[in-house]
């Protein structure tokens, strides 16, 4: 081989080695960057893990994240913006350092550093507006190496707070943007690079998972708290219900109450007003969770106290209404049917405070009679308006059946979103009217179960049924024959 050829070969070899070394250097740099990134992410997760105790608060977590990202990016300032989904606007939750506004603003002057930060925290950015809004919209990060010559940074603001270089990255889970992270200016005066952006993106991904997790956790904790409250309310309410139906000569009484998972509660009560008069109450409290149970308890006590004052159900309810109205919130109300039964004469007087109608199957009549005298729910209006609540009096005799119920019965739903309804209720009572009161209630419950086909109960279900039957001693039979003559 000639000397020249050798020289060329050696020269080519040197160039090749030089290029290879460059490639290797670039490769090493890439690995170094990746390693740095990996370290940064691991360090981030570790730090976050340390700081999270049993109270997970979103704001605190965001501050930790921002601090970390600003540190690791060697940035002068940084901010995290979260997206308000409903309004489609971004709002800064954390601002570190002298963070400048990044979209067009008109005629603002800040005399103090503090007022700039306050302004940034108050500012709402529309999705699509400025660089922050644009990253939120596209879900793509942006690197601005030299802000002075970049059209994405509006010129009128850079004279005001110097923006040399910046990076913006979305916080997103899969493709859903939760927020945006931005860092401005490097502390060492250099410009941000693609490697820096890559790091920011990795950290933003982690931050997004964090934000999402904290939100979900808070939602769950809230839900659990609410469920616990509701459970407590239900347990409390069951303490207020009668343990068993009263023993009344000449009366076959049965009752049933089953709470649903949510919603305020039903209650029913039997009150011995005096030796000859039995008060029956059935009620439905409208109001969520614990307040419902407390109102229930209050109403029960007030009714028991006021029942002694008068044998007129309407008068008693008027008094109860006053107490309830004063002591409850505007949105809380109770529907109630309160009846006073004279167990000697079998005369039943009742008043209906916005409650479901009273169902009666008179022995000698095929069709049921529904009574719904005028009335307004308790706790809403003052006396003068409430006094439209009127009373009805009916005479009962052997074999007559009365059923009181709450709207959970007729509003029970099946999987086709149909309601059980009053018609079906009347039918099932009709078909069991000749049996005992307990049989009537069992028939209703069974039919509701058949109808709802396993759909969970939405509202409390309460039923009171009673049947007038043969009196058990001579005294009662005298009274019975007298009242039979009077019956309508």
């Amino acid at each position: 081989m000639t000397k020249n050829a050798l020289t060329v070969i050696i020269f080519a070899l040197l160039i090749w080695i030089f290029l290879l070394r460059r490639k290797i250097k670039i490769f090493h740099q890439a690995i170094e960057n990746r390693t740095k990134e990996r370290e940064a992410v691991l360090s981030f997760l570790h730090k976050i893990g340390e700081r999270i105790t049993d109270t997970i608060d979103l704001q605190g977590s965001l501050e930790i994240i921002t601090n970390f990202i600003v540190e690791y990016s060697h940035a002068e300032s940084g901010a995290i913006f979260l997206l308000n989904e409903r309004e489609k606007t971004m709002k800064a939750k954390v601002v570190l350092g002298l963070f400048p506004p990044l979209h067009k603003i008109q005629g603002l002057a800040f005399s103090k550093r503090k007022s700039l930060t306050e302004w940034i925290m108050r500012d709402k950015i529309e999705v699509g507006e400025g660089i922050i809004g644009s990253v939120a919209q596209t879900g793509e990060s942006q690197l601005i190496v030299d802000a002075h010559n970049d059209p994405r940074v509006p010129q009128n603001i850079t004279d005001f707070v110097p923006i040399e270089t910046l990076m913006v990255s979305p916080l997103k889970i899969k493709d859903k943007v939760l927020g945006v992270m931005a860092v401005v200016n490097r502390r060492d005066g250099q410009n941000f690079t693609k490697a820096d952006l890559s790091l920011l993106e990795s950290l933003s991904d982690q931050a997004a998972v964090m934000v999402d997790t904290v939100k979900l956790y808070n939602q769950l904790a809230n839900q659990q708290r609410i469920e616990q409250e509701l459970r407590m309310a239900r347990d409390f309410q069951s303490l207020l219900l009668p343990k068993q139906c009263p023993f009344v000569p000449g009366l076959d009484i049965a009752a049933f109450s089953e709470p649903a998972l949510e919603v305020g509660g039903d209650y029913y009560d039997f009150i011995w007003i005096d030796a000859d008069h039995l008060g029956l109450a059935i009620a439905d409290v409208a109001g969520k969770g614990i307040p419902g149970a407390l109102v229930m308890s209050m109403v029960r006590s007030i009714l028991r106290a006021e029942s002694r004052s008068s044998l007129s159900p309407a008068s008693v309810l008027k008094l109860v209404n006053e107490y309830v109205r004063q002591d409850t919130q505007t949105s809380v109300f109770i529907t109630m049917t309160y009846a006073v039964l004279d167990i000697r004469t079998r005369v039943m007087r009742f008043a209906r405070a916005g409650h479901e109608p009273v169902i009666t199957f008179f022995k000698d009549q095929q069709e049921p009679r529904l009574f719904a005298p005028e009335g307004i729910a308790l706790g809403l209006v003052e006396e003068s308006i409430f006094s439209v609540t009127s009373e009805k009096e009916i005479n009962l005799a052997n074999g007559d059946l009365v059923v009181l119920y709450t709207d959970g019965v007729v509003e029970a739903m099946n999987d086709a979103s149909q309601e059980y309804g009053q018609q079906r209720l009347l039918e099932v009572i009709r078909s069991s009217r000749n049996g005992r009161a307990e049989g009537v209630i069992n028939a209703i419950i069974k039919d509701i179960k058949v109808f709802t086909r396993g759909i969970p109960q939405q509202d409390d279900i309460t039923i009171i049924a009673f049947k007038v039957c043969s009196p058990t001693n001579r005294e009662f039979s005298e009274v019975a024959s007298e009242s039979a003559a009077d019956r309508h």
Partner: protein, 121 residues
């Protein structure tokens, strides 16, 4: 089980009153959403409100409670609420509860105008 939802549409904000259209279900699950929408409308200083209930399929006691609070709030400010065209089912519920004695219920345009026109008060 179908998911029940509430749709609120602010129909018109005339000087005299604002009209809101409700459709879907107003119950314990959707009541918060309803209240948030109302807050927005009330921010503008509205005191006379009409709610078109024609497309409201169902209202529970929670929903009624919310309407009650709203009525109370508006009346305190010398304003009022009118429930416009409730369907048969919703009207029945309102009537049974005695709420037709408390709320203004307008069944047609004429009744609506008479409730909301301050000059006829």
């Amino acid at each position: 089980m179908k998911s029940f939802d509430l749709h609120v549409k602010v129909e018109a904000t005339e000087k005299e009153y604002s009209m809101i259209e409700l459709s879907g279900f107003l119950d314990a699950h959707t009541v918060n959403s309803f209240e948030t929408h109302i807050e927005e409308v009330l921010k503008g200083g509205v005191t006379r409100l009409a709610i078109d209930l024609n497309d409201l399929s169902y209202i529970s006691s929670a929903g009624i409670g919310a309407l009650m609070t709203l009525t109370h709030h508006l009346r305190k400010k010398q304003g009022d609420l009118v429930l416009f065209r409730p369907n048969q089912k919703v009207f029945k519920i309102l009537d049974l509860l005695g709420f037709t004695k408390i709320f203004n219920v307008a069944l047609n345009e004429q009744e609506l105008k008479s409730y909301l026109n301050p000059h006829t008060r």
